[in-house]
Symmetry: C2
Subunit: 420 residues, 2 copies
């Protein structure tokens, strides 16, 4: 039993045409016209498969396949929205793989002891409201109606109003929260968005943990002056100090922290930013992630120490603000084991790994047992038009997920039978 790439090719080519930015990657925000088009396409496919479909208050699509509708389901899926000028594969690959798996299960008339549920999360990328995973946060009760009324997009419209205007029954947000009894396990297949699998020549990754993160905003304030007339020893140059700290952070993350720790300065703002003026103020953002809290703490402690030392030496004022944080999440050892056993049985060249990015799957861990399967992103590129995942890797990841679903939704029945 295996997934059919021809059908998936049709799905991809239909859906990629629904973009706001033709020839400049995929731009498909939740609650947009393009979102409406891809939803219509997918709903038609699901109706064709006879699924029992529900679109919830925030726009998550839940579609159940199978007879055992009262038992906790095996949930598979991902998201369909993109960033601006994003890639073709993003969350869509996980959604199309899940859809294709249900096609195969139906086609092969697999007898299931549990239903299989296709989940399509809304607003994962945070493209509308700057808050990622809004759909899975609402589904798992992390955000309620009051939150949705206060979360606003660039035009000042609340998530509540945007969802309502899209035709959703947003008032039901709290009624629609997922109950533990509804789901036995959730597995999300996603592109890796990094280059580890490609570099190690692995076709699939089995995710054990999702990294936590801390994001800091660091401000260094000096004294702006003429670059020609201010001797070196009269300077208070915040960019020189920032440079020192930025290069130090990378060195610390490489050498002192854990092998799993990553730290990045991706954004820097320099004022007034003129070639012949010593800067007045530099702001930069530090993003530290690890599956181990200890790794994050190691970098953060050194960062604060270094910041104070540089500020004192260069006579700068400094400020560090924590602007975002999430804890590391361990995925279910039961599900990880089920995926790994399947991968071994079918001879996949797999890697047990961690996820540096957060996914809807992480939101699900307080409701059910969660697993994730990664497939390679060529060159590690993601969130850009160059994003690319090979068909053969989609096939490997898709088949692995298919067999794991069968193991969880069929073999479990056998096990029960044996033990009873």
């Amino acid at each position: 039993m295996e997934i059919n790439l021809d059908r998936m090719r049709n799905d991809f080519s239909a859906i990629v045409s629904f973009t706001k930015t033709p020839n400049h990657g995929c731009t498909r925000f939740s609650y947009s016209n393009e979102d409406r088009q891809v939803r219509d396409y997918l709903l038609l496919q699901m109706q064709g498969l006879g699924l029992s479909i529900k679109v919830d208050a925030i726009g998550n699509i839940r579609a159940i396949y199978g007879e055992e509708i009262d038992k906790p389901s095996i949930m598979i899926g991902s998201h369909i929205d993109t960033v601006e000028n994003g890639g073709k594969y993003g969350g869509l690959t996980g959604v199309l793989v899940a859809l294709e798996i249900i096609r195969v299960l139906k086609e092969e008339q697999v007898t299931l002891s549990r239903s299989v549920e296709l989940i399509i999360f809304a607003e994962e990328e945070g493209s509308n409201f700057g808050i990622t995973m809004l759909g899975s946060k609402v589904l798992t009760g992390k955000y309620g109606i009051a939150d949705l009324q206060s979360i606003r997009n660039g035009e000042g419209d609340s998530a509540y109003d945007v969802a309502k205007r899209f035709g959703l029954d947003i008032e039901s947000a709290e009624k629609d929260v997922l109950e533990e009894e509804e789901v036995n396990a959730m597995i999300e297949l996603h592109i890796e968005q990094g280059a580890v699998l490609e570099t190690l020549n692995k076709s699939v990754g089995i995710v054990q943990a999702i990294a936590g993160m801390k994001t800091f905003k660091v401000t260094l304030e000096g004294d702006s002056n003429h670059a020609g007339t201010t001797p070196m020893d009269l300077r208070q140059d915040p960019l020189s100090g920032a440079g020192n700290i930025i290069s130090y952070i990378q060195r610390i993350a490489k050498t002192v922290a854990l092998p799993t720790t990553v730290a990045t300065v991706g954004k820097i703002i320099c004022e007034p930013n003129m070639p012949n003026v010593i800067p007045q103020r530099v702001v930069f953002f530090v993003d530290v992630r690890d599956v181990e809290t200890k790794g994050i703490d190691l970098v953060v402690d050194r960062l604060i120490e270094k910041l104070n030392a540089v500020a004192a030496e260069d006579k700068l004022q400094c400020k560090i603000e924590l602007i975002g944080a999430s804890d590391p999440v361990k995925l279910s050892s039961r599900i990880v084991q089920a995926i790994e056993e399947t991968a071994s049985e079918y001879g996949y060249n797999y890697l047990k790994m961690n996820s540096g990015a957060v996914h809807d799957a992480a939101m699900m861990t307080d409701v059910t047992d969660v697993g994730m399967i990664f497939i390679p992103s060529m060159g590690g590129k993601s969130h850009c038009p160059e994003e690319y995942t090979r068909e053969k890797d989609i096939k490997s990841g898709g088949d692995l997920l298919l067999q794991t679903v069968i193991k969880l939704a069929v073999k479990r029945k056998k096990t029960n039978r044996t033990s009873s």
Copy 2:
């Protein structure tokens, strides 16, 4: 004999009202309405003093006082244009001091053996065309009509057309080039634009040399990737590399280069500049200055060495482009000595120093003997609304220039008489 601060106060308050940005510093570009207003004001003052006035092709105002019109003059002055949201003092102080000196010479009926010429340079700041000292460059024949036709402002208008539209006889640019026989010496009084005089508690600076400079554009190209999913050892992070180089440049300029060397990174551009994305490309500008070519070379050699080392270690592509250069200029020892003798005679608390900024005076050094007097800029602030020079310092610098002019334009006659 001394300058009259009351009259200068009137001049300042009249002229500061001619700005395009009331309450946000002085904005007075050459060839603007505000420029027209200040010119009209100053021309009226000059006419009142009976000066022989000429506005040249590019808009420099030359106004001669004295009988000895055929002998090489003692030229004093500076510029009246500003940057956007610039300061009150800029070049204007030097112009108003020069005007006031002529008032005093006339009032006191000083017998001169040379005429004294007030020079007001046009377009020193480069606010229109991005080319500094355009007026003095044209006056000294460095730019001709063909250059003026190719130099363009942000709207695409050539300097030639802008000057013509302002009513200038731009076709005479090459006829108007200053001849060596016209001028015996040139002295520019200017605010320091740095904090050296204030820091050392000196009331005037006697400039010995004007720094040369080299400006480089450095580009580091890495590989943009997700900040969460790319392990440290798979990264090619151009911002971390740039930070390393930027902090190194300051250290080198402080420790390895000459005491007179300064090096600055004032502008940095990071792409895509998102907190959770490893940057793809970082561009920064390095401004290196010294009155000794050797000091510049010491920093540049180390910069190139470091750039290559960092690029190799961090697997980055790098490029370094020289985008601007000027040689160091020694001012005339005859004039420096004349100023210093005067300062000693009158008991000024002076400092012999160098200029890190380039001035119109530097352009004049290939035509005549040039000197410069600096007066303190509080906090070293310049090119901003906070620019401030105390009246007592204007008085000191102005009186020193007055006495030096008298020494050069009167005493020279005595010396001649004695030796004849």
